[in-house]
């Protein structure tokens, strides 16, 4: 990335990219790819899917450059695209009828064989962080996304609700449900470690 692009504001890069400047678009990708990849990895739990999602995000960004509202923050716009790309990715790879914010999806996730052992079993030989990460990977996609955006990315509940087109109360309940499960994993981990001591 040359100095001109490095110091340019996001909005300038978007304007240039929308006018056909490929280098400006690459500068945008380089600037924001780490954030996009981080969220995608938190959601997908593996590099292969994280890369797929990140690619989808930047292709969508490229196709909708003209629709960017210059009075908005690029990161807010990007977060919205990332969250929707995560949901779309999950939908493409899930059985028919899957919906991201229903308990049906939760049951499917819980019953899926690739989910791995529960928190009690996972606790053995693992650090607490690993136990929690394993539990995050087992959260229903909607809860996982809300928890990731709130906890890891620091988005407000209202921002998450806006990006996902949901009521703030719904997002609040999703976060609460996610935290409830992580606390249960934490508690099980304490019991397991305590029991072994």
């Amino acid at each position: 990335m040359n100095g001109e692009y490095r110091s340019a504001a996001d909005s300038d890069l978007v304007a240039r990219a929308a006018a056909g400047d490929g280098s400006a678009f690459h500068a945008l990708v380089e600037r924001h790819r780490a954030m996009v990849y981080r969220v995608a990895y938190q959601f997908a739990g593996n590099h292969h899917d994280a890369e797929d999602i990140a690619q989808d995000v930047f292709i969508k960004v490229y196709r909708s450059l003209e629709r960017f509202r210059y009075d908005a923050q690029l990161t807010s716009w990007l977060y919205r695209i990332v969250m929707n790309a995560c949901i779309d990715h999950r939908r493409r790879h899930a059985p028919a009828g899957w919906a991201p914010f229903t308990d049906d999806a939760e049951l499917k996730m819980l019953n899926a064989p690739e989910e791995g052992p529960g928190p009690e079993e996972t606790a053995y030989g693992l650090q607490l962080g690993e136990v929690l990460e394993a539990e995050i990977a087992r959260l229903p996609p909607g809860q996982r996304l809300v928890f990731t955006m709130r906890h890891h990315e620091g988005l407000k509940l209202s921002e998450i609700a806006d990006a996902l087109g949901l009521a703030e109360g719904t997002v609040k309940r999703q976060l609460h449900a996610a935290v409830h499960r992580l606390r249960a994993a934490l508690s099980a981990s304490r019991v397991t470690v305590g029991g072994r001591a």
């Binding site: 229903t102 949901l166 508690s187």
Partner: protein
């Protein structure tokens, strides 16, 4: 893992993540001095934050090598560019088709309907008339041509969707919380879950087209369906919560208004 009402409402998470107003946060501070369960909740959140912050954050492909990602993205971009050049032509073609259809519908209406009171004679005209019957609050912009035809189509599909959804909403609204069986509840939950994706799509389409009132009714329906599909315990409290939601949003009346075009 005991809990209290404040924690069950998600307020402790809001407190922990700094999302409460100063006054509400101060009230939670006071509460925490008295409530051991909520103190434990906050301690757990701190432990979760601490344990997760110690984990490495994955924000790049393995070994930080972006070359494969960049190569694949670059190879996808020409397709994206091609689509961008093709899309305007597709849009022009689609527009011409819609304008032609709009002119056709308008001419049929003018020919077969000298006055608005005359019943429509063709399916297309019935569709147009159906949209025209909608109350002003949910009627789309009535510019003749492209937008009008597309908007009317969306309204028509939304009406049909409301008809399907009304059965669920009415079923929920009339279930007796004291006598509802688990099977009834499960049935409504499944129906609500199956209607949810379409409701969301229609709502987003209505928002995109600036049909805010229609989008609002669809949004209310989405909230009710979501709440229903998320509730897996066939208990009285859950059903009452859903029923309060339906009543508070006046959903049955709104859906009837949109559906009947009064």
């Amino acid at each position: 893992m005991s809990t209290c009402g404040l924690a069950a409402a998600g307020t402790i998470e809001q407190y922990f993540y700094g999302e409460l107003t100063p006054a509400d946060a101060a009230r939670v501070d006071v509460h925490l001095r008295e409530c051991a369960a909520c103190r434990q909740h906050v301690d757990d959140l701190r432990a979760i934050r601490s344990a997760l912050s110690a984990r490495a954050r994955v924000d790049a492909p393995p070994a930080g090598d972006w070359s494969g990602f960049t190569r694949r993205l670059d190879s996808a971009m020409p397709t994206a560019r091609t689509r961008r050049t093709v899309i305007p032509w597709l849009a022009i073609a689609a527009t011409l088709t819609l304008v032609t259809a709009g002119v056709f519908v308008t001419s049929r209406i003018s020919r077969n309907q000298p006055t608005l009171q005359t019943p429509p004679a063709s399916t297309s005209a019935q569709e147009a008339a159906s949209a025209a019957r909608l109350p002003q609050a949910v009627r789309p912009a009535t510019n003749a041509g492209v937008a009008s035809v597309a908007d009317q189509s969306l309204v028509r599909h939304s009406e049909e969707h409301f008809e399907r959804s009304k059965l669920v909403v009415l079923g929920l609204a009339t279930l007796d919380p004291h006598q509802a069986h688990a099977g009834d509840w499960q049935h409504e939950r499944e129906l609500a879950g199956s209607l949810l994706p379409d409701t969301r799509l229609y709502r987003l389409a209505a928002e995109d087209r600036g049909m805010t009132d229609l989008a609002r009714v669809l949004g209310d329906l989405e909230t009710v369906l979501l709440e229903t599909s998320m509730t897996d315990h066939p208990d009285r409290e859950s059903l009452e919560r859903v029923q309060r939601l339906i009543a508070r949003r006046d959903l049955v009346v709104k859906m009837n208004v949109v559906g009947s075009g009064i």
